[in-house]
Every structure is written in C-alpha cells, then in structure tokens.
C-alpha cells in the first residue's frame, strides 16, 4: 500500500512537472491526464472505489476535450518547431515553486482531526444517500447551474443561432446548415 502510494505520488507530481516541460500540446495534455489518473488510482488505495474510478472516467473525457481546444488555439501544437511555450519563465517558476511549497507545508502544519467512527461499508451507497437526503438542495442548485452553463456556452459558442437557421420569423421548416446560407 505504502509503496503503491509513493509510486502514484511520484508519478502524479512528475507528470505534472512534465506538463510544463514538454513542447507539444498533445504531450502536455496527456501528461496532465497521466497525473490525474495517478490521483484517481490513489483514491482506490483508500477504498474510495467509486470516486477513484469516476476521476479516471471523467478526466479521460475532459482531457480529450481540452486537447481538442488547446490544439485548435495554440501555435505549433505538435512542438515541431523549436519554440518556448512558457511566457515569463523565471517568475512562473518562482510562483509555482512557492505555491507548491505553501501547499505541502499546509499538509504538514494542519492538525488533522482524529478519525471519528467507522468508515461506512459501502462509501458509494453512503454518497447516494447523501445526495438524495441532506445534500439534495445542493444537487438541485447544481442542476440549475448546469442548465445555465449549457445555455450560456451555447449562446457564446454558436455564432449562428435559431434566426440564422430558421429565418427571421422562424418560418423555415428545415433549418439551414452551416455552409448552406445564402
């Protein structure tokens, strides 16, 4: 267990560093994914099976989407031309090192509370009950938030809305597709 933890910890930190060292967007994204997968696997070590697997599931999909966007907008996405991808290198190094040290110090300086009670037999089950019971309000708020997110991203991302598709009075039966408009 301890060995596995240390391996995963080293992998996640090393892959995290690699994100900034490699000069290909694809490599950077997948280094980040490797780092996050190591974190997900670490969750498995403390028997949070559902959360660990969920992290793997979500992060693979999300990193792929991130890769798609990074490559769409970043110059030289494959790193085929020698080129420095980091701006203000020195300051960035200092800031990130300082934040890392701060966070690690936080881990050691916090007085963690002693465990109270026994861990539940099935944490996933417990999670479900929490979502349905005391955290219900949270979930509903999140539902509205997600709806708002969907609407706002669609508004921001599509430059041709329903009036471009169905005509000014929404009279067209079959919408025009991109490239079809007159």
């Amino acid at each position: 267990m301890a060995v596995a933890f240390w391996i995963l910890a080293v992998v996640s930190v090393a892959a995290g560093i690699a994100v900034f060292v490699v000069d290909s967007m694809a490599r950077a994204t997948f280094a980040l994914l490797a780092s996050l997968l190591a974190v997900g696997l670490a969750f498995l070590l403390i028997d949070l099976e559902y959360l660990g697997v969920l992290i793997i599931l979500m992060m693979v999909m999300e990193m792929l989407v991130m890769a798609v966007f990074m490559i769409m907008y970043m110059m030289n996405p494959a790193g085929l031309m020698p080129m420095k991808m980091v701006h203000n290198h020195r300051a960035a190094m200092i800031i990130s090192a300082a934040v890392f040290v701060l966070l690690v110090a936080g881990i050691f300086l916090t007085s963690w509370p002693p465990r109270g009670g026994e861990p539940p037999a099935d944490p996933t089950h417990q999670l479900g009950l929490a979502v349905m019971g005391p955290k219900m309000l949270v979930m509903m708020v999140i539902g509205v938030a997600i709806l708002a997110t969907m609407i706002s991203t669609v508004v921001l991302a599509t430059h041709r809305g329903r009036y471009a598709r169905y005509g000014d009075d929404l009279e067209r039966k079959r919408p025009l597709d991109p490239g079809e408009e007159s």
Binding site: M72, N76, L80, M81, H159, P178
Partner: protein, 336 residues
Amino acid sequence: MVVTGWLLRRAARHPRPFLVSAADGTRARLRCEAEIARRRWRPALSPAEAGLLVVCGAPGDELSEAVRTIWDGLPSPRARADLPGDASHDLVAHALDRAVARLADGAAPGRPHGGPDPGDLPMADRGPDRDGLSLDRLHVPLGPVLPDWPSGLVVETVLQGDVIQEATVRWLEDGEPFWAEPWDRAAAGRPVTRGEAGRRRAAAHLDGLGRLLSVAGWPAAARSARTVRDRLLADAPREALTAPYERLARQVRRSGTLRWMLRGVGPAGDGDALARLEARLTATRAAIGSIADEAPLDEDRPAGNLLNPDLLVGAELATARLMVASLDPGPAVAHA
C-alpha cells in the same frame, strides 16, 4: 531464419493488394479486381497496409511519379506487378502468382535511402474560415492514387479541420476509354450491337456504384456490385444477371441508413446523391435489360457527369468523397 521463412510463406497466401490504374488500364484493373476477388484476397486501403502494388496500364508522367511515391511507402516484404492495359486473364493470374512467389521469398529489395529531408517541412499557414475563425490550412490533394477514387482525377483541396475551403479539379488523363469503347467503335463505322453497349454501360454503372458503396462504408454491398459487374464483363447471359442485380438493388434501396446519409449530399442539377443513386440503379436495370438486343448501336454515348469544384467547397471530407463518388465524374473532354 526458419521461422521468418515459415511466416513469410504463410503471409504470402494472404497478400494485401493496392491497385493503381492509369486511364488505359481499366480493362486490366477490372480483370485484376475479379482475379483478386476469386483468390479471396482483401485489398488494402493505404500503402502502409499493402504488401503488393499492382499498376494497371501505362501511367503518364505525373501518375508515374505518384506511383513511385506510393511504392516508396510500402513496407517490406513487398512486391509489385505492372500489367499492360490489355492484360489477359492469364497474364494477370501469372503476374499475381509471380508477385506472391516474391513475397514468400521475402526478398526485401534494397531501396535508396533518404529522399527529401523530412524535417524541413514548414508548418501550416493560417487563413480565414467559414466559421469566422482564422486557423491553419492544410493542402491536401485527393487523387490520383486513392482507393475508390475515379481514375485520373486530382482534386487539390485546402482543408481547415476536416472541411474543404478551396478546391480545384484537374484530370491527369482523358478519362477511361474502356467505358466508351463500343460507341467509339460504332463511330468508327464498325458493327456494334446495342446489347454490347448496354453491357458495357451497366458494367460502368456498377463500377461506379461499387465505389460509392465502398466510400459510404458498406464494403459488403460494394462487393456485391462488383461481383455483378465482373459477371457482366465475363459475358454472362441476361438470365444469370437479373436476379443478383435485383437482389443488390433491393438491398441498397431498402437501406434506411444509406438514404439518411446520402440525402441532401452534393445537390446539383439532377438532385442530391440519393437521387443520383436512384437514377443510377434505374439506368443499370435498363442497361442490363438491353444486353440481348441485337440491333445495331445508333445512339451517342450518354454524357457523363462533370465535377464542379464549387460543390465541394464547404463540405466535410466524408461528404466530399460521397459527392464525388455519387457523381462518378469524367473529364470535360468529350469522346468522339
């Protein structure tokens, strides 16, 4: 090594051929495709997948250059067969046999190393885009050497993502004289029956249909079309052709997925890809119906479709391929 030899011999029984046809190589290509189907080999889609390059006919300068590029991309063990445009069945079979023997030997012919230094390619440049963004543009020529692509056609495209921003069409050669042969002979004053022309016409339609179905990702139906085509060219009687053709036409017409994927694709004067498919099926049926007609051929060759590059602009790559396959275009130069 013993193991290597054994594996090479096993592999040589299942070669993956990659066919290239020049304008005058149609007859050899058709014979070769029929022979490959008879031997139950599965054709390759790209040079990396292939082990056997078959060149049909005598390619011109530009096509020769393209063939050399393709040949350079084939990994060893590889073999090459060059067939003359009028290659007989025996010659085709013999050439394939020899190629298989070379594959089984595994003799990796030494190849000149180097070529242009790969590292000095530039990165893509930016350009304005349909969606109002300014992103990289790639120059991607389609043809002359591409599976299920009309012989001699080159479409130079500029891609942004997978959408064509610009397209120019050119033809390396004057189309495939093989399909026009009965009309050309009739025009030269030699006796040609309507049945003979109908047979050739039906085979041409089925050849194009095979390409369309293959591009549409339906290899099984494409194979059925090519089987009927090969039987037509092997002079099978009408009775032996109508049943398999009707089965194919029924299967194609009944496929809701195919209709869904072709509807609205490449609208031209004669409707969309789906309408063209329907018209082609009807025309093929009529042509097969006429193959017993002994009357002398007295009509002009039906005009082929032209490819308007504007049609391809704004289309996604898969749609563009469907458009080209459904038009089955020929060069603008008319055959006398």
